[in-house]
């Protein structure tokens, strides 16, 4: 198995693989710090407290997570054809890419966790801002952030790879099917929330089911994404 070659394929351009996501993250953090400084300077303690509460849902961390979501798509869309072109087998590509997914998820989960620990220890970098300690990466203990961020990144990369592989296999018709199916699900949930008291109560129960069950849901999506991706990649052909 030439897994090393596949890993090299994904990481040969270090600046693209690791440099830019971290640079973009630092730029996003800088903007958050500037906002924090402005709010604290102008609004005082009350504004600081409100900002700290509101920033639990601050999506600035997606400056880092966003490119990683895209990585799952490009792995199949751009790297797979080159891997086949270089004589690597589908099995080798899948094994090496899965390893890179896991490695990426672990690397950036550690980065986010370290950032969160520093952020919490310094009172939001002295400005009460939240960048790492947010809803999407976990507002609980540091180990929860580590696990949650790891699972989240791994899940989006695997699901992204599965979607791209399905597109590779069935073309535009798959995308039509996917988006229509997604729209129907969203519409059904929205209608349920608006029209059914029982469904609303059930949804609230689901939303409040706690951190561990939610991590189970994220892990389940990751497993389904991985299963679909691995099943399809074995029969994927060059286009």
């Amino acid at each position: 198995m030439r897994i090393r070659n596949v890993v090299q394929l994904h990481t040969v351009n270090r600046l693209q693989a690791f440099g830019w996501p971290l640079i973009i993250m630092m730029m996003s953090l800088t903007i958050v710090l500037i906002i924090g400084a402005l709010v604290t300077g102008v609004g005082g303690d009350q504004a600081r407290e409100g900002m700290n509460y509101g920033m639990q849902w601050n999506g600035a961390i997606f400056a880092l997570l966003g490119p990683l979501i895209g990585f799952g798509f490009t792995a199949m869309g751009q790297y797979f054809p080159l891997a086949l072109g270089l004589g690597l087998t589908r099995r080798e590509f899948a094994a090496g890419t899965a390893l890179v997914f896991a490695g990426n998820a672990a690397f950036y989960a550690v980065i986010v966790t370290i950032g969160k620990v520093i952020e919490v220890a310094t009172g939001g970098f002295g400005l009460s801002v939240r960048f790492f300690d947010v809803f999407y990466t976990g507002i609980g203990e540091w180990w929860q952030t580590l696990i949650q961020t790891f699972l989240l990144i791994l899940m989006v990369m695997l699901v992204g790879a599965a979607i791209t592989t399905a597109f590779h296999r069935w073309g535009q018709s798959f995308l039509w099917f996917f988006w229509i199916a997604l729209a129907i699900v969203v519409l059904a949930i929205s209608a349920g929330l608006l029209l059914s008291e029982a469904f609303l109560a059930f949804s609230q129960d689901v939303a409040a089911m706690g951190w561990f069950p939610w991590m189970g849901v994220v892990a389940a999506f990751a497993v389904v994404g991985a299963a679909v991706w691995l099943a399809l990649v074995r029969r994927a052909q060059a286009r």
């Binding site: 751009q78 080159l82 004589g87 080798e92």
Partner: protein, 304 residues
């Protein structure tokens, strides 16, 4: 030893029968030409032989085994295709680094020499390279990989005449020093005619001709002179092509013993036919016979 054997190999896509019952045998350590018009099935055949796509039916043996998901076969195979896609963020140097790790016989010093020779800007993003520079990446990989089985699919698109000649010279020089099996798909038939030892001509997904180039020298001749004399000379024989201009005519035909003497006595001139001319004659004649056999299909093609 035989490098490649295919038996009744077919590949069907929803809208097209790309390959239809292809049976060929390519001996190892030779340069094989894979010739055919656009859409003849050349790239599909090479994609099948490198495990990039799956056959609909038929069998194939590459270096003694099936190429599909076969590490032993694929690690000894390099396939340079003109339509190769590269990740948007890649520079030429990234592609070459990966290739260096992927091919066990990779010669880095030779690769560096080729990069300089083809003036390849290795630090530039691949998506910003010209068509010719993209071809140069493929040429560097294809040659420096020194893979026992090397496929080149139109490797010089966009290259100027000087660079093309450079590629042919490099290919021949390196092949002489490091013999290996090379399959070269090309439209520039006359430019590579002297390199090829064996050719396979594909047309509409089928093998039109498979032969050693030495044998092809005698496969067709052209005769020219007065039209009446030419027609008399060719009476009752298979004529691949005939052109007339006033009272003069030129025709391409399949020769047989004694033609030289008969032509001289009739005051006609005989000349060998180039590989490219033979290719044109064969594919044109095949298209004509296909049209005659299936007028509806020919009509459809004409409309397209």
């Amino acid at each position: 030893m035989t490098a490649i054997v295919t038996t009744a190999l077919s590949k069907r896509y929803p809208e097209v029968h790309a390959l239809d019952g292809v049976s060929i045998r390519l001996e190892e350590n030779r340069i094989h030409g894979l010739l055919g018009r656009n859409g003849a099935g050349k790239t599909t055949l090479m994609q099948l032989l490198t495990g990039q796509v799956f056959a609909t039916s038929g069998e194939m043996q590459v270096l003694g085994g099936s190429p599909v998901e076969n590490v032993d076969v694929l690690s000894q195979t390099v396939f340079i295709q003109e339509s190769q896609k590269y990740p948007d963020t890649f520079r030429a140097v990234d592609v070459l680094r990966i290739a260096a790790g992927a091919y066990p016989h990779w010669d880095q010093a030779y690769a560096d020499r080729l990069v300089a020779q083809y003036r390849l800007p290795v630090k530039r993003l691949v998506k910003k390279l010209s068509r010719g520079q993209l071809s140069a990446i493929g040429i560097v990989i294809g040659l420096a990989a020194r893979a026992p089985l090397t496929f080149f699919d139109e490797p010089y698109l966009g290259l100027d005449a000087v660079a093309r000649q450079m590629f042919f010279d490099d290919l021949l020089a390196d092949y002489t020093e490091h013999p290996r099996t090379i399959v070269l798909s090309t439209h520039h038939i006359d430019e590579v005619a002297n390199l090829l030892e064996h050719v396979v001509i594909l047309d509409q997904g089928k093998v039109l001709l498979e032969a050693d180039t030495d044998d092809l020298h005698d496969a067709a001749m052209s005769v020219s002179g007065r039209a009446q004399a030419v027609d008399a000379f060719l009476a009752g024989r298979e004529v691949l092509e005939r052109k007339a201009l006033g009272t003069l005519a030129t025709a391409t035909f399949t020769p047989r013993d004694g033609d030289e003497l008969a032509a001289r006595e009739a005051g006609l001139e005989l000349a060998p036919v180039s590989l490219q001319a033979l290719f044109v004659h064969l594919t044109t004649a095949n298209a004509a016979s296909a049209a005659a056999a299936d007028p509806d299909r020919a009509h459809d093609r004409a409309i397209v």
